[in-house]
Symmetry: C2
Subunit: 479 residues, 2 copies
């Protein structure tokens, strides 16, 4: 993703119409019909789905991949944990959502990870027009129904899980399909990152705050560095940043750096991790330390290069030079996400006066033009709020919205709720959906507490689902 400068890229159109993306971790599972994920053997199930759930005249179908593990199911009182796959290969999410696997043991639950249409191996042989949030949610509802029917567990409570875009989907799945889903853990789900609700500056303001909270003065140092870049000859910049190719303009370099820093804030985890890049523990600290180290007053450009290298080359193995045309997150399936961002999922981004990044307004017209050029589609900035409800959560229930305070996406997250059946958690010291990851010795008390709240909520939702009178239960069998 390019949280900061994807918008900038869109505006300049210099790098094409790449849109704001959530981080997708690199693939790691073996190429095998069964998968060892989060310490368990999953098998693949394939669900034939209508390509278009809303047009019965279109009889085309595609095969959706679902990863299933039922090792820990208590078949006398079964529960279904259902991951609403996001914009990538589902193995990645299964492998990076260890919390679900741990909780499945505790609750006697089946683990069902459903891959999002048009991602991973669930790619229809059809144009992108059938890639939409609604179609994906209908896919998931069908999977739940068929999974229940195949195991003869029509009354099993279903808990949805998701992080990032997957978290948005899990929340909307509960909101739109309360007859299918009993509750949802929506981690780092910026369902408010839409026009008219969250100011477009917010994301970059939080990136700035995360850097500043790491070390006082760090954001100011970064802002100064960007200003210095504007005054520095491009040849000097090419040498200092060891660029593989001559710079067509400074903006490209600024975008590349900005992307790296924004990602760093997002994945500012307390442990070494390889979520989007191989990074040390607390990478933001490492960057600030490099930028603000001894002697940096004398050679600030070299220090800035070192700081930026924490993201792009912490291993030292990134190669002899930096190719800034390469996407700063080596994610899969970026085209699919960009298409969603160019249609219904317009999440405005800009850099305002409180940001450490160079100022950049949100320009919907330019964004729209870039989408037309790339995909021949025109985005609708009002669509998501109208279709998915925006911040009108009065009628929603049984959702936990968790957000890491370090995570710039938290700006578009649900941070408080006047609705007693919507639980919100802000996790100090946590980055992008840290709480969904497997427990780790390095976990601080706040993320442990978040997981405790998740478990308590799940327990309550299961109890509630089981207490429904039989007449309120829905049969999945055809009479």
């Amino acid at each position: 993703m390019r949280p900061t400068t994807a918008a900038i890229c869109m505006l300049t159109a210099a790098l094409g119409a790449a849109a704001v993306r959530f981080p997708v971790p690199p693939a790691s599972a073996a190429n095998d019909p069964t998968w060892l994920l989060c310490g368990r053997l999953f098998h693949e199930e394939w669900y034939r789905q209508p390509l278009d759930h809303y047009d019965f005249k279109d009889t085309r179908t595609f095969q959706q991949r679902v990863l299933v593990n039922t090792d820990t199911v208590d078949w006398r009182a079964p529960v279904i944990f259902f991951y609403t796959g996001n914009e990538g290969d589902i193995t990645l999410f299964a492998n990076n959502t260890g919390f679900m696997c741990e909780a499945a043991s505790e609750f006697g639950a089946a683990l069902v990870f459903a891959e999002h249409r048009y991602f991973g191996r669930s790619t229809p042989d059809a144009d992108l027009g059938f890639l939409s949030v609604q179609q994906a949610l209908s896919d998931y509802a069908v999977v739940v129904d068929r999974f229940k029917a195949s195991r003869a567990v029509p009354d099993a409570p279903v808990i949805a899980f998701g992080g990032s875009y997957g978290g948005m989907l899990s929340a909307w799945f509960r909101i739109k399909y309360p007859g299918v889903v009993d509750g949802a853990i929506a981690a780092s789900a910026p369902i408010l990152q839409f026009t008219g609700i969250t100011p477009s500056d917010t994301f970059n303001d939080i990136v700035t705050r995360t850097f500043e909270s790491s070390r006082a003065g760090c954001s100011h140092a970064i802002r100064s560095a960007f200003e210095r870049i504007e005054r520095t000859p491009t040849g000097t910049l090419e040498t200092a940043f060891r660029l593989c190719k001559p710079l067509p303009g400074r903006q490209q370099l600024v975008d590349w750096i900005s992307n790296g820093l924004a990602y760093e804030a997002m994945v500012d985890y307390p442990t070494e991790a390889s979520f989007v890049q191989p990074l040390p523990a607390w990478p933001v600290n490492a960057t600030c330390d490099a930028i603000m180290g001894d002697g940096c007053d004398d050679d600030p450009l070299s220090c800035f290069v070192a700081g930026v290298s924490v993201y792009f080359n912490s291993t030292g193995n990134a190669g002899p030079c930096n190719d800034i045309d390469v996407d700063s997150s080596p994610s899969l399936d970026e085209q699919g996400w960009d298409y969603l961002a160019c249609t219904s999922m317009v999440m405005p981004m800009s850099s305002g006066p409180a940001s450490m990044f160079p100022p950049q307004p949100w320009d919907f017209d330019a964004y729209s033009l870039a989408c037309q050029q790339r995909f021949s589609v025109t985005p609708d900035a009002t669509y998501a709020v109208r279709e998915f409800g925006g911040n009108r959560l009065e009628t929603a229930s049984n959702i936990v919205f968790s957000n890491g305070v370090l995570d710039p996406w938290s700006g578009g997250g649900v941070l408080s709720s006047g609705n007693p059946s919507i639980v919100t958690i802000q996790i100090p010291g946590a980055a992008h959906h840290l709480d969904l990851r497997a427990s780790d010795a390095s976990d601080g008390a706040p993320v442990q507490e978040a997981r405790r709240i998740h478990r308590a909520s799940i327990r309550q939702w299961i109890r509630q689902a089981r207490s429904r009178t039989p007449s309120m239960r829905r049969s999945v069998a055809v009479q």
Copy 2:
């Protein structure tokens, strides 16, 4: 609609694949760009809509007709009353939903009647594939947003209204779009008339009960009459029922009679009305009186013919003979409803042992085959419950479900609710959405009480909408 025997027609396929329909009143408004409806002058507004709300690559559009009257709006505290049009010309519903017009004066509300896509004049130049409940609901959400924007009333509370299929839509509109709709009056809305929830016999059992409650022994007399038809030579039947054409078989006659009797139960209003046919007050009484009159023991067939004629020829002007190939409800746009019934809206119907009609099982396979033959589509009996939630109303709020006790559709209606924010009303002596009609001197206390509850609910929902904190309000403006 053919509440009883549409299913039978589907099964025999003798009359083609006509499906169960709700009654649509005959057209009455003049052919004019403004319309005098419910005593007010409405003007037409045309809303350009995407043909496919879920496929941004499909840029086709169509024009949706919306009838608007703002005479009684209090612009300092505006409210929007929004009718979710059903399967017919929207003028018909505006003209037969007088309650909305009366209440608009009381609440200072705008009247907005939105025509359902593929009906009336809102007919896209495209195949029926884009006719679906979801597309219709998205249309309505767009109309609300644009209506608000055009009048600069972003915070106006929106109350949805609908009767019959339109009532299902108004309920689902509130459930699926709680950010757009603040509450819904769903009258005679059989949202539970689906597989796995309501037994398929229920509709005809209630028709039977309605006849029996009109006069003890009436349903038995009708059952006997149907048995007698099986034993009577077709020539005798042709003469007795004054048929225009020779009968290919008795089943066609049985279907024709059954349709009429079922419609009669549906529109068993206390006043003369022309909702589906010109009928006297309490037509079921008139039919039972004819069937069970003096001398009927001697000539039961003639009495039965007279009883059936209450529906088909109460005016005596139906012509010299009866053409049983003509649809028993002269409704418009039946093809559109039949298409919905052949895709997502499968509402099973049969005649069981408690019915006064000849036994007829529900045969989904035969139904499906008829749909394939007529529309080249395959219905999905599980679809509506999965997509719209069935009886899982725990999370729903701000809906009144009203049902007339005489109305056979009440069997699939919501008659009780453990959810305090879902109000249910059963109206003794009332037929299909009598409560939505204009008040009348003949109204009994129960329907007056129903309307009182509607008003109290609307008042509460408006108060609740206005009490939302500004941060919970949704802006419809693009930033």
